[in-house]
C-alpha cells in the first residue's frame, strides 16, 4: 500500500461517491442503480483508511469481516489477496457489499468517521467481490475438496442463512442438502430484494460457487409438507433450519381484500421471482398502478415503492406513520427513492381502503399523526391528530408492514420450542430445544438483516460440526 501517506494526507482524501444511473432514467428501468467503483477510485478510497489498531469496524460487522486487512490489500492494489481475505470471512460479499446497512454496522464504528465521513467499506467490499467474480478464472480456484466425514446435514431454506451454513458445513467435509420450498434459490435475496439493488446474476454466481464446492440444492421441497422435520431427523445426522420469516402481517383495516391491494411479498415475488413486468417472456401478471400507495417505512416498503415507479406509477407514494428520521430502511435506499420521485407521506397512518362497484381499490383513507412521548422502543410514539383525516386517490395499495414466522414447518414439529411470536427458540450458536436441530436467520430473530442471517448460518455450522464430532 501507499505507506508514504501521512494520516493527515489520508484525512484529506474525500469520500468516494458511488456512480449511479441518473435518477430520471433509472426510475423507469430495473437495471442496477449503483454502477460500482472504478479500480482507481476504490484504491483511493481504501487509502482513506487510517489502519488504526482498534479495528472498531470489525466489531461493527456481524460476521467480523477482516476489514482492515482486505482494505489494506486493496489499497496496495493487490486485489487477489483482498478477495481471498473477504471470501474467507463472508460467503456472499457481493451481496453484502450491496445490501448491508453499512451506516449502522461497520461504517458506524469507523474511526475515520469521527471527524468527517467513514471509509466506504460497503462500496469497497462490493468492488472487491465483483472483481473476484469477474476474475474467477485467475484466482486460486475453488478450495480442494475436504476429506469427507460421512455425516449428512439437511438445511431447510435457501436464503442467506441456509446458504452460509451449507457452505461452511461442506467446507468441513459434511454432505449437505438444502431443501427449498420455492422453485429457485436465494430466499429473500431473490424474491424480495429487487434487481435494481441486487442483480439476480450476483445471486446466481454466488450460489453456483457453493454448488461447485459440493452443496446440493433441492427446490420444490416444503419441509412440514413434502417432508417433515422428524423425517429429516431420521434421514440426516443434523438439521439446520433457516426458513426465514415469510408470513405477511395484514393491515387489518376495512378494504384490505379489494382488488389492487397487495401484500409486499406478493408484489415483489411477482416481479422478482416470476419476472412480471421485468422479463418479456414471463407469464405472471402484475397490476401497473398509476397511483400507488405503499404502507410502511422499512427496506421492504422502499423496494415496493421504487418497484411501483419502475412499473410506471405516476405517483408512487410511501405512507409511513412516523417521521423520516424513524424510518428503518437503509439511508441509501431512502435517498435513492427520493431522487426517483417517490413521494413521502410521513406521519400518516392508513384507516381504510374504499373501492368502486367492481371491487377495485380507489381511495386510501389516512389519519395524520404527530410524535408523542417515546415508547418501549425508545422512539417517539405516533399519535393521531384528532380530526385530521384525508383521502389519497389510489389504484394499487401495497402493504409492507412486515412479516412474521411462517408456521408451516413448526406446525408439524410440535417438539420444537417456539417463543411467543412463533419464532424458533435458539441459543446464540443456533441450538434449539431438539438435539441435532439448529436454527438461525429470520426464523429465530424475526425480520433482521442479510448479514445477521449469514452470521447465524456460520455459527450454526460451527455448532453442528462440534455436535457431529461428538456424536459418533
Amino acid at each position: 500500500m501507499n505507506n508514504n501517506l501521512t494520516a493527515k494526507e489520508r484525512m484529506a482524501i474525500e469520500r468516494v461517491r458511488m456512480p449511479a444511473q441518473e435518477a430520471g432514467a433509472r426510475s423507469r428501468n430495473f437495471a442496477e442503480v449503483n454502477l460500482g467503483l472504478a479500480e482507481a477510485e476504490a484504491i483511493r478510497e481504501a487509502n482513506r483508511c487510517l489502519q488504526c489498531k482498534s479495528r472498531k469496524c470489525v466489531e461493527g460487522c456481524p460476521v467480523n469481516v477482516s476489514i482492515p486487512e482486505f482494505v489494506t490489500a486493496l489499497a496496495a492494489g493487490d486485489l487477489a489477496t483482498a478477495a481471498a481475505i473477504l471470501q474467507k470471512d463472508n460467503a456472499l460479499p457481493a451481496v453484502c457489499g450491496r445490501v448491508c446497512p453499512q451506516e449502522v454496522q461497520c461504517e458506524a464504528h469507523c474511526v475515520r468517521g469521527v471527524k468527517g465521513e467513514p471509509v466506504a467499506i460497503g462500496y469497497l467490499e462490493r468492488f472487491v467481490a465483483d472483481w473476484a467474480m469477474a476474475h474467477h478464472g485467475r484466482l486460486a480456484t475453488d478450495e480442494p475438496a475436504p476429506p469427507t466425514t460421512g455425516k449428512r446435514v439437511a438445511v431447510v431454506g435457501c436464503g442467506p442463512a441456509g446458504l452460509t451454513a451449507a457452505g461452511e458445513l461442506t467446507r468441513l467435509g459434511h454432505e449437505v442438502i438444502i431443501f427449498e420450498a420455492l422453485h429457485d434459490t436465494g430466499g429473500v435475496l431473490r424474491y424480495g430484494i429487487p434487481e435494481f439493488r441486487l442483480p439476480k446474476r450476483i445471486i446466481d454466481s454466488e450460489v453456483a460457487r457453493l454448488v461447485r464446492s459440493g452443496v446440493a440444492i433441492e427446490c420444490n421441497v416444503i419441509i412440514g409438507k413434502t417432508l417433515t422435520l422428524p423425517q429429516l431427523r431420521e434421514e440426516f445426522d443434523a438439521v439446520y433450519i433457516a426458513n426465514g420469516a415469510g408470513l405477511p402481517v395484514m393491515l387489518g383495516i376495512p378494504g384490505e381484500n379489494l382488488k389492487g391491494v397487495y401484500a409486499a411479498n406478493e408484489y415483489l415475488t411477482r416481479v422478482n421471482l416470476m419476472g412480471a413486468g421485468l422479463d418479456p417472456t414471463a407469464r405472471t401478471p402484475i397490476l401497473r398502478g398509476r397511483q400507488v400507495a405503499v404502507i410502511g417505512g422499512g427496506n421492504t416498503a422502499m423496494d415496493c415503492v421504487r418497484t411501483a415507479r419502475r412499473l410506471g406509477a405516476e405517483r408512487a407514494m410511501l405512507v409511513y406513520r412516523r417521521s423520516g428520521a424513524e424510518m428503518p430502511a437503509r439511508a441509501e435506499e431512502i435517498h435513492h427513492a427520493r431522487e426517483e420521485g417517490v413521494e413521502f407521506i410521513l406521519l400518516t397512518s392508513p384507516l381504510s381502503i374504499s373501492g368502486d362497484k367492481q371491487g377495485w381499490a380507489r381511495a386510501l383513507r389516512c389519519q395524520r399523526m404527530e410524535l408523542g412521548a417515546p415508547d418501549a422502543s425508545g422512539r417517539r410514539r405516533p399519535v393521531p391528530v384528532p380530526g385530521d383525516v384525508f383521502d389519497l386517490e389510489v389504484d394499487v395499495v401495497v402493504n409492507a408492514l412486515g412479516t412474521r414466522a411462517n408456521p408451516l414447518l413448526t406446525a408439524t414439529a410440535p417438539e420444537l420450542a417456539l417463543n411467543r411470536w412463533g419464532n424458533i427458540e435458539a441459543t446464540p450458536t443456533g441450538a434449539t430445544s431438539q438435539p441435532g436441530v439448529y436454527a438461525g436467520g429470520d426464523i429465530v430473530r424475526g425480520g433482521a438483516t442479510v448479514i445477521l442471517a449469514m452470521g447465524d448460518g456460520k455459527q450454526g455450522a460451527a455448532a453442528i460440526h462440534t455436535y457431529l464430532q461428538q456424536s459418533n
Binding site: M250, K259, N265, E266, T269, A282, R283, P285
Partner: protein
C-alpha cells in the same frame, strides 16, 4: 424435473395427468394440492391432487386447460417433464363419519371434488354425488365417482345430459327429503355455484364445506395473495384452506378478486 407418466384427455380440454413425484405421493392427503410450473418463465398454478399411488410414487392431476398456463401444462406428453411440482399443500379435508353426505361438483370443480368424495366414502360415509356442467361434454368423472357413490346425479344447463338446470335443484330435493337429507355437504365449483349451495343449506343448518380457488403464487402462506374473507377475517386459502365453512365465506370478495387480472392493464407480456 418431474416426469409425466400418462396424459389423457377425458373431456374437451380436461386432462388426466399422472406424474412421478414420490415424496408428494407419500405425504399427500385428500383435499391437498400442488403448485405446478410447466417450464421456466411460466406462472405457478395450483392444482388439486386427484389421486396418489405411494407405491408407484405417482400423483394424478385433473386439469382443465382454460388459460395459457394450464394449456402449457397439459401440453407435456407422456415421457415429457414438468419443471416444478411442489406440495402437497393446504390442509387435508376434515374427515369425519357424518353418515350421509352430498358431494356437489360444478365443471372442473368435479376434479377437485373427486378425491374428497372418494376419501369420504372410504371412511364409511354414504356419498351422494351431484355433478353439473354447461352441457354433456363438460360432465366429467361420472364413472369414476359412481364406483364409490351411492348415487350420481347429473345436471346440465342445456339438458343434454341428466336433469336440465343447476346442481342446486338436485341438492334441494335431497335436502327436502328426510330419508335422504345429508348430514354434511361438500361443494366445489364456480363461486356462484358454491354460494348458491351455501345459501340452500344455511336455513337447513347443514354443515357445508366449500373448496375455494383464489389466485395463488407460492401456496405456502408467504405472499398473502390468496386471502379470502371467512367469518369476517382474512384467511390464506393455501395454508388455512382451501376448504372452509361455506356459510362463513364472503363470496363477493372472492369473485371480485378472481377477476383481478382479467380486463385490467397489467404487465404481462406475451399473453398466450
Amino acid at each position: 424435473m418431474f416426469e409425466v407418466i400418462r396424459n389423457e384427455t377425458l373431456a374437451p380440454s380436461l386432462h388426466r395427468m399422472v406424474i412421478r413425484a414420490p415424496r408428494i405421493a407419500a405425504a399427500r392427503q385428500a383435499g391437498q394440492f400442488v403448485i405446478v410450473r410447466a417450464a421456466t418463465d411460466e406462472e405457478r398454478i395450483p392444482l388439486t391432487i386427484g389421486d396418489a399411488d405411494p407405491q408407484a410414487g405417482t400423483i394424478t392431476l385433473f386439469i382443465q386447460a382454460i388459460g395459457a398456463s394450464t394449456r402449457r401444462i397439459v401440453a407435456a406428453p407422456a415421457g415429457g417433464t414438468l419443471r416444478d411440482v411442489a406440495g402437497p399443500l393446504g390442509m387435508a379435508t376434515e374427515m369425519e363419519r357424518w353418515g350421509r353426505v352430498a358431494c356437489v361438483g360444478g365443471g372442473v370443480g368435479t376434479a377437485v371434488l373427486y378425491p374428497m368424495a372418494k376419501a369420504l366414502a372410504q371412511i364409511g360415509n354414504e356419498v351422494t354425488t351431484i355433478i353439473g356442467g354447461r352441457s354433456a361434454p363438460y360432465i366429467i368423472l361420472a364413472d369414476e365417482l359412481a364406483v364409490f357413490s351411492a348415487a350420481v346425479r347429473i345436471t346440465t344447463e342445456d339438458g343434454s345430459c341428466g336433469r336440465q338446470g343447476f346442481v342446486t335443484a338436485e341438492l334441494a330435493e335431497l335436502v327436502a327429503d328426510p330419508a335422504r337429507r345429508p348430514e354434511a355437504v361438500f361443494a366445489v365449483g364456480p363461486v356462484p355455484m358454491m354460494r348458491a349451495v351455501a345459501e340452500l343449506t344455511r336455513p337447513a343448518g347443514i354443515k357445508t364445506i366449500v373448496s375455494l380457488n383464489p389466485i395463488m403464487i407460492d401456496g405456502t402462506g408467504m405472499c398473502g395473495g390468496c386471502r379470502v374473507e371467512v367469518g369476517g377475517e382474512s384467511k390464506f386459502a393455501c395454508v388455512d384452506g382451501p376448504e372452509f365453512d361455506g356459510h362463513l365465506v364472503n363470496y363477493a370478495t372472492l369473485a371480485d378478486r378472481l377477476t383481478m387480472y382479467q380486463e385490467h392493464e397489467t404487465c404481462r407480456v406475451g399473453l398466450g
